[in-house]
Point group: C2
Chain length 411, copies 2
Amino acid sequence: MRAAEVLARCATLDRFTSLPRGLERVHLSKEHASANAQAGRWMEQAGLRTWQDAAGNQWGRREGREPGLPALVLGSHLDTVTDAGSFDGMLGVVMAIAVAERLGARVGRLPFALEVVGFSDEEGTRFGKALLGSQAVAGTWDDDWFELRDKDATTLRQAFEEFGLDPRRVGDAARSPASMVGYLEAHIEQGPYLEEADASLGYVTLIAGARRFRLSVLGEARHAGGTPYERRRDALVGASEAIVLVEEMAKERGCIATVGRIAVTPGGINVIPGRADLSLDLRAPTDEDRDAMWVDLLARIRELCRRRGLRLDVVESHHAPAVHCAPWLQDAVVAGIATTGDTAPMGLWSRAGHDAMAIGAVADVGMLFVRCGDGVSHHADESVREVDVEAGLDAFEATVLQVAAVVEARG
Amino acid sequence: MRAAEVLARCATLDRFTSLPRGLERVHLSKEHASANAQAGRWMEQAGLRTWQDAAGNQWGRREGREPGLPALVLGSHLDTVTDAGSFDGMLGVVMAIAVAERLGARVGRLPFALEVVGFSDEEGTRFGKALLGSQAVAGTWDDDWFELRDKDATTLRQAFEEFGLDPRRVGDAARSPASMVGYLEAHIEQGPYLEEADASLGYVTLIAGARRFRLSVLGEARHAGGTPYERRRDALVGASEAIVLVEEMAKERGCIATVGRIAVTPGGINVIPGRADLSLDLRAPTDEDRDAMWVDLLARIRELCRRRGLRLDVVESHHAPAVHCAPWLQDAVVAGIATTGDTAPMGLWSRAGHDAMAIGAVADVGMLFVRCGDGVSHHADESVREVDVEAGLDAFEATVLQVAAVVEARG
């Protein structure tokens, strides 16, 4: 299978969307079911046996040279953000299926089974918590998450049931370390560095761990006209100062911090906001840099709230440690890329989170990055070049064979 | 009728709410219809003939010493903001009805008819445009407003029809200058100045005119992790800088400016906001101060957007000139307050808008302010003291008789 077909399949998946225009496919939605079914059909065409696991992840497997061997798992996710592009996640799943198809009967001679997975939730769009699919597989699931609610107040538990899954069985999705040789994920870079280096492909050294917080700034709603400044406790002005500070501090420290959501109540044109709720996503090259920034940032936001007579409530909604790609899988990806002619490929740390982070708890992981247009991601304008996908397929297939050689050599 | 009954009636109106807890009663809602019906019953008990006009305002009238005389109109509004208090608007309507009831048959000896009105929309909560009820009465209605939409995308035209009103007949609600002697409105102060001066009542000298804008800051949605700062065009950070600037500039210049609404898209935790929409409400003691601030503020917001690679779209949604209360009606209110023992009452400019602003286009207007607790308004904690309402009823009734004396003296 060639790149043109891979891109056509990504376009096919775009049809499973909840938006009249644009792409949004969230965890446990009917679009999710349709995407799983479509991916499952492609897996079967590639000669894989398929199943959907107890957490809504779509799997396919072909046995290696004997039945029941540990598996090398290739995959990524099938869910999206709102107004998403066509490649974040999906490209990796479709490339994994393509590699399985290209290897075909050769898989039967490999020293491991080959599995492909399309994870059910990586973005956390629906329930505000990321990596739900891959964490179930990693066995790091927390049953408290079943009480999370989407914007319509549906709990994750209800969503499981409506999707036909039994929440009590979610543990069945967990995989043992012994069942996996490793996990490899192809993904668009979602940043500009490969493009700046004029390279099609890169390998990932580590995936930075994000911490996410919900900040609630609490003031007092009052009449916008009648309340003089000395009596105002305007939650939105306080929140705005905090947002400007977040950017300023992250730039100073080489971190990346984003406020992607904000909501104010009561939200009247002529009413001082009494409350502002915002999200914060914080990343850095090391967990230490990130945590040090958070300590200082929180102190300064508390200080500005105190000065303005505002209260601050903080809830940490996500906390992921940085995950290092296994050196031997980094080497395998480098070797895979080398077969395409780039013998000294670029190594990058991933600022974005990936399913590989969660799977890192239960298996060695490696990642292949594919150049994307202008670093754009999480946007309908996400793009990849056919030539880069072509190179990516060759490299990803060669990486699998390189892993096989290493496993073989281990004996 | 005494203050206790007035307060009980305000509590009765609280029942007509669209919220399970708290008060919200918006234009042309079923709660609006219920509040009109209740106010109409009270008007009839006070001896008034009642009708609902072509813009959804609730009226009552008792003839003066001969039928068909021009009317002295007493009133305020029956709609509310979200999570409103019980008094903003409603206190003025209920006090007007109480004064009509207290005067009773004496109205038949006055040199004018007495009318009471409960305006249908002053806050603009539903359609984002304030004073829809009183502007219909003032004859300053603009048919373009029929295309305004509420948050469910219902147009004002559809809302008229669903309420049983014919949009083509809205002009029938307009009153001629010749049909009115003047308009008097009692209202809670919505500010802290009477309380600070230890006074129950005050008279209004002028009502500052607000200008309102919708600002859209347009950047680019991208992945929160993968996009380095030099490539970010984060609409929310730009909007936040603007919000901080709004406060800073308004304080410097003695203006009052409020951003009460903000919404960002796409609104993902891990997506840089591509767009931020905000409201701006701007007021000042004079129209000149206000307009000068807007010119400078807009220039500085444009400059910060340019610096950040953001676009700015601005729509003016409301523009009201300051309205001066008629000196002879100011004098009548002062005389009315004097009967309660405060012979040198406090004069205030109203930072808040009122129906009197719209009616000022077609009649002389005067306003009586009643002290409220801690200056709180547009909040469930809005409060008035019974003793102040008692004084307010006496003063308002005496004001009507003072107006009668002046009209009589004019001959």
